[in-house]
């Protein structure tokens, strides 16, 4: 077996040194009747070529985003990732290192986490950010728990524009923790009355912008009313590129920002691994979940970085910890921070303008298709169409025409009476030819 260095001679010599005759004598604490008599009923070892054939055949049965005109978003976005990013995250010293518990030999990880935290804080308009969460949805759920800790209240109000998966994660976790969640009905056109739901019993209001239907939301009035009632505003986003063009949540009064960072540096990868971004105000930092890298000095007075404020965390506080989270999304936040460094302010804002321009062009072209209506007043790179037919069937039919057209709203919200709605996203990867193919295929199947 190519991964196992010991030879049979080594094994014999080592067993002799240990003082046992067979390796099974090392397993005698396992009750004898519980030891496996025969190997598991699974295939035997395979060489590289065989594994490549086996998995390659599986991969070939999937339609990859780059192989067709592609317009699917709804929480995960197809962006171009520079070759440099993927090369660098495969550096052994990044790929095969552990959580930086020994900071003297983990300054690489710790410094990029410090840079990442700073980038996320700048991007969201917040004061501090952590070293990442699993993904946007779990970051959002942790934000709600944190708001409960800060306000000592246990009721969250969720906007009807929140990605339904995110709302479900927040609801599941709140139910488990015995907290209350008020989830407003799906709000396709951003016209819900969030202000009416805020009172002195509410710990936080959770609003997504751009919301799942693509609408941009002005958070300022919600922030003001929340603050007047001692509640926090939790701002959520699923498309990090939008922050290159749209007002930052921090500038609109958010107290906690939780978002998905996949768009910067990370592949679609069928939903994971992604990287949850989490930022807040300095005054709440000790209520924050997750790891934090901080600056300090070494014994010679040189600048260095360590994991810090770990008295919040489970390995110290056990059942009193702020969260049970242990891992972060290390390599995915490295990908984020490298891509963001390559973009810089000028690149990110330009990328955001390209996304917006492509979406505007697509919306205009689709609005001209008979029977199709664009429902959004505002959007960044994603919007909602009303179709004259059920969206799921249209998407299937368009897939037969080799166009992946978007996400039928009933896939996310079944039984909500929204079967004719389709979420469509357009990023920098889309060309004029892609847009023309979309329009032609849609016209054909309608």
């Amino acid at each position: 077996m190519r991964y196992l260095p010991l030879t049979d001679a080594d094994r014999r010599e080592m067993l002799a040194r240990i003082g046992v005759a067979t390796v099974d004598e090392l397993f005698t604490d396992i009750p004898e009747r519980m030891r496996m008599a025969a190997p598991a009923d699974l295939p035997r070892a395979k060489g590289e070529m065989e594994v490549e054939r086996h998995l390659g055949a599986m991969a070939a049965r999937n339609v990859s985003a780059s192989s067709v005109p592609f317009f699917i978003g709804a929480g995960a976005y197809k962006h171009h990732v520079p070759a440099t990013v993927d090369h660098l995250i495969q550096r052994s010293e990044f790929l095969t290192s552990y959580t930086p518990y020994q900071p003297e030999i983990a300054q690489g990880t710790l410094q990029y986490l410090f840079e990442f935290q700073t980038q996320v804080a700048m991007l969201t308009g917040m004061e501090v950010a952590n070293a990442s969460m699993y993904d946007g949805s779990t970051a959002a759920a942790e934000a709600v728990l944190m708001a409960h800790r800060v306000t000592r209240r246990r009721k969250a109000v969720l906007s009807g524009g929140i990605h339904p998966h995110y709302a479900e994660v927040m609801t599941t976790l709140s139910d488990l923790a015995g907290d209350e969640v008020v989830r407003l009905p799906p709000d396709v056109t951003a016209t819900e009355d969030l202000l009416a739901a805020i009172d002195d019993s509410v710990s936080c209001v959770v609003v997504q912008t751009p919301d799942v239907f693509g609408n941009l939301r002005d958070l300022r009035a919600v922030a003001d009313k929340a603050h007047a009632h001692g509640a926090l505003l939790v701002a959520v986003f699923t498309e990090a590129v939008s922050l290159g063009l749209v007002e930052a949540p921090g500038a609109m009064g958010a107290d906690i920002v939780a978002g998905e960072g996949q768009s910067i540096g990370n592949a679609l990868s069928f939903g994971g691994p992604y990287v949850g971004l989490f930022a807040t105000r300095q005054k709440f930092v000790r209520q924050m979940p997750g790891r934090l890298a901080g600056e300090t000095v070494d014994a010679d007075g040189r600048r260095g970085f360590v994991l810090t404020l770990s008295t919040r965390e489970q390995h110290i506080r056990r059942d009193k910890a702020t969260s049970n989270i242990c891992t972060n999304s290390g390599l995915c936040c490295l990908a984020f921070t490298i891509h963001m460094s390559l973009l810089g302010e000028s690149g990110l804002t330009r990328l955001a303008r390209v996304n917006h321009a492509n979406a505007v062009k697509l919306a205009e072209a689709l609005a001209a298709v008979p029977g199709v209506k664009v429902l959004n007043e505002t959007f960044f790179n994603e919007f909602t169409l009303r179709l004259p037919k059920p969206a799921a069937a249209v998407v299937e039919a368009m897939a037969d025409h080799h166009v992946l057209a978007g996400v039928p709203v009933p896939r996310l919200l079944p039984g909500a009476g929204l079967d004719d709605l389709l979420l469509v996203a357009s990023t920098e990867v889309n060309t004029d030819a892609d847009r023309a193919a979309f329009v032609a295929a849609l016209t054909e199947v309608l």
Binding site: L26, E52, T96, Q102, I105, A251, A299, C326
Partner: protein
């Protein structure tokens, strides 16, 4: 002190060397500033044409302020991150004996497979007809996990070990609710030796945690469990093999006691690497167990993530598994994403989308490469390597539970350091100077000054022999009173010991632009 470029203010002053350098660099060890100290907001490392102007649809929400994000050209970025990488220790650098973390070799075939466009470049919400291969892969991974654990069901979506604990304990909570016992059955028993995530998870979802003391030999006594178990017992969370490196030899009896009390047996599967192909958790009475794909099945730890924590479930819990899950009907795979279309009683959703697909591909590639025979051999070699280290160090270092066979990791305490002026931490830091990543230190909490060594199956005998010789040399140095070798260590790492107290007392968690420096009078 550092100047604004992040370099020593007095060139070379901070470097402990008879030959200071102007830059503060030491040949291949390069000092590297933060991106904020040399990047510029008008530099772009990604070429992109400015779009033709359009009438924007931003509704007046256009960003007003600048962001301040520095940009790097591609060569600058390459050099920055390569230099940072060179300050990190990884498995590919050397032996990484971090107990309970299973730092084994990460095959690059797995990386190649995960990057196939058919896996890396597919969207989680594509029509099922366009992702049949991805769903088939999830189904095949599930099959392997079920066979290896002897459990009837598995949920793949948890994002990491602690997230898997959450999924498993949530399934237990849902099962208790289905029995109408939510109000009365709310205590979770957690042994003292458990990972911190166990009590944190139980508390997070509203259980009350009760500690189970370890007995003299480092394992859990079923009689202690029986004393604590009763009609209020929701579950026990037991790590097996445990964090002392020992197999809980009374596990079957513990399971029986818990089941008799009406509770569930949650097994922390962090140490599954010791027993793959040797014993099946399903045969031991386990109701739920998470599997860290990043440990046992070698998906890269990546400096702290991403992980993946699928959870295998017993028949009693299977119906409560979270959404989504893969279903096969007439040769076609689909995803069940909503309770309304499920014929089970899912506890809800714990993450957006379907889990860590990139990790699923890597883990399955690892399993296919090993096969059932190779996985069994790997576990045997992991246990053999740990016992070899034990046998070769037992005369110098102290074993809190006696010189007896361990599983895939061996636990020493600091009794042998008593009165020497050298602590466990000092010893660990001296290992850094010798070119090793230290073992896990001060965990588990049940022994004093713990040193938990897990060499994994990836080490050759020659590698272990050098490691053992090094630790023996260090142990002799302790005995000979050469304390400076330890208390000042590390001397040769990119940084000397870092001031963690200062970091916590005056937290600096981000870069901020320095105040303008006043010009000198002249």
């Amino acid at each position: 002190m550092l100047n604004r470029q992040g370099r020593p203010t007095t060139p070379g002053a901070a470097v402990e060397s008879a030959h200071p350098t102007f830059t503060g660099n030491r040949a291949l060890q390069q000092e590297e500033p933060l991106i904020f100290e040399f990047g510029r907001t008008d530099v772009i490392g990604v070429d992109l044409d400015e779009p033709a102007p359009v009438a924007d649809r931003l509704g007046g929400l256009k960003r007003k302020d600048t962001i301040g994000l520095p940009g790097l050209s591609e060569p600058e970025a390459m050099r920055h991150y390569v230099r940072l990488s060179q300050k990190n220790y990884g498995i590919d650098t050397g032996l990484f004996p971090l107990g309970s973390c299973t730092m084994k070799h990460n095959p690059r075939l797995n990386e190649r497979m995960a990057r196939l466009p058919g896996f890396a470049d597919i969207h989680p919400l594509q029509p099922a007809s366009t992702v049949q291969g991805a769903l088939a892969l999830m189904d095949e991974l599930a099959h392997w996990l079920k066979e290896l654990t002897g459990m009837p069901a598995v949920t793949l979506s948890p994002k990491a070990g602690a997230h898997g604990e959450l999924a498993g304990m949530a399934a237990i909570k849902a099962a208790i609710a289905a029995r109408g016992e939510t109000a009365t059955r709310n205590v979770v028993l957690v042994p003292d030796s458990a990972h911190g995530t166990n009590p944190a998870t139980a508390a997070l979802i509203g259980f009350t945690v009760k500690a189970v003391p370890a007995r003299e030999d480092g394992t859990v006594d079923p009689a202690e469990v029986a004393k604590l178990a009763g009609p209020d017992t929701a579950a026990i969370m037991l790590t097996n093999p445990n964090t002392c490196g020992l197999f809980e030899r009374d596990v079957v009896e513990i399971a029986r006691v818990i089941h008799e009390a009406g509770g569930y047996f949650y097994c922390d599967g962090a140490n599954f690497n010791a027993i793959v192909g040797k014993a099946r958790p399903g045969d031991l009475g386990v109701d739920a167990m998470h599997i860290n794909l990043h440990k046992t099945f070698s998906t890269p730890h990546g400096g702290g993530g991403p992980g993946a924590g699928p959870v295998v479930l017993s028949d009693r819990l299977a119906a409560f598994a979270p959404l989504p899950y893969v279903r096969l009907d007439d040769g076609r795979f689909s995803l069940v994403e909503h309770a309304a279309v499920s014929d089970q009683s899912p506890l809800g959703r714990l993450t957006a989308f379907h889990g860590q697909m990139g990790m699923f591909v890597r883990a399955l590639a690892f399993m296919l490469s090993h096969g059932a025979d190779g996985l069994k051999q790997a576990s045997e070699d992991a246990v053999l390597n740990a016992n070899y280290v034990r046998a070769c160090l037992a005369d110098l270092m102290s074993l809190p539970f006696g010189n007896r066979a361990c599983m895939h990791e061996v636990l020493f305490d600091d009794a042998w350091l008593k009165g020497t002026g050298v602590t466990t931490l000092d010893f660990a830091k001296a290992m850094i100077d010798e070119g090793y990543h230290p073992m896990t230190v001060y965990f588990p909490l049940v022994v004093h000054g713990a040193m938990l060594i897990e060499p994994t199956e990836s080490e050759s005998k020659a590698s272990l022999d050098l490691f053992i010789a090094t630790l023996r040399d260090l142990a002799f140095a302790v005995r000979d009173g050469d304390t400076a070798r330890f208390t000042g260590a590390p001397y040769h790492a990119p940084r000397r010991r870092l001031d963690e107290t200062r970091a916590a007392r005056q937290p600096v968690l981000r870069w901020t632009a320095p105040a303008p420096v006043a010009e000198a009078a002249e």
